[in-house]
């Protein structure tokens, strides 16, 4: 019994703190391959909130670009409007999708020119001070 408890304790210690508390997780991240003249692009991802508390994404950070912002796209009649947003809500026990035609994360000034299949790491900052790692793969569309 003591041996079992010891093994459990050792196992828990081996799991990073962020993973133990991962009430909010990101999946299916992808980024559009930037156009030839651009170092900017859009990143898409699904963010799931497994907690009973509504959360907000209040910022995005990455070392791979000079800046990252959350932008929302919506249609007014037949006109596409795209604007930066300060925060994005994730419902309790729900998810928010950054998808083409709705929300995306803009990456400005990529520090290297990516190829299809390359990955990029970004970090979502939540309103409770925690962070969510995102890995996105570059693809054409």
């Amino acid at each position: 019994m003591t041996k079992t408890l010891l093994l459990c304790a050792l196992g828990l210690a081996a799991i990073p703190l962020a993973a133990q508390d991962a009430a909010v997780v990101a999946r299916d991240g992808w980024a559009r391959l930037p156009l030839p003249s651009k170092n900017d692009t859009a990143l898409f991802v699904v963010v799931e909130n497994h907690s009973a508390q509504k959360r907000k994404i209040v910022g995005v950070a990455t070392d791979a670009a000079q800046a990252a912002e959350m932008h929302e796209m919506h249609m007014e009649r037949m006109t596409m409007v795209m604007l930066p947003v300060k925060d994005v809500s994730i419902p309790a026990h729900g998810k928010t999708s950054f998808n083409p035609d709705t929300l995306h994360i803009m990456l400005f000034g990529l520090k290297s020119k990516p190829n299809i299949g390359d990955t990029i790491q970004v970090t979502l900052k939540l309103d409770d001070g925690t962070t969510v790692p995102v890995t996105a793969t570059f693809r054409k569309k």
Binding site: A67, E69, M78, T79, M80, V81, M82, P100
Partner: protein, 186 residues
Amino acid sequence: MYRLIGLAALALLTLGCHRALPVLPVGGDFTLTDDNAQRFELSSLRGKAVLIFFGYTSCPDACPTTLSKLSSVWHNLGGDAKRVKTLYISVDPQRDTPPVLKADLGAFDLDALGLTGTKPEIDKVVAEYGAEYQIIPTPDSVMKYTVAHSTTLYALDTAGRVRMEFPYEATVDQITSGVRRVLASN
């Protein structure tokens, strides 16, 4: 609500597929600057069907989505593709110089020409086609400004007359069959 209107327009496109295409009360000839920095006249494309849409190359979502869709249309047209030209008219002449347009359009596999011009020249074409755009300052963003723009795709027959308009939601198959109808409409 407006998305519903777009879907209704799509339904009408499908329902009306066996009727003769009307000449729509928009459009007209124009002169702009192409992505080789040469003056371009729409009338030089007589004999080809022409697809026109308005956008800007810094657009991260709607414009690359439309260009990807039009690339698929171009491939679906098979032998008819050589009778179709796409014109991508920038509503962001400050950033979209001819070399920028040429480089970025080169990422899409279709026969397309990027067009720009002075603001008055672009505004005239936008008005002729019933399109719209608005520069929106975004001082807190790295972009500094974004451009809201209409997403309608205009299909012109070989005589340069607008015969169909496609909403943003139109699928590759709907645009492909529409272009075939336009090619057959003269």
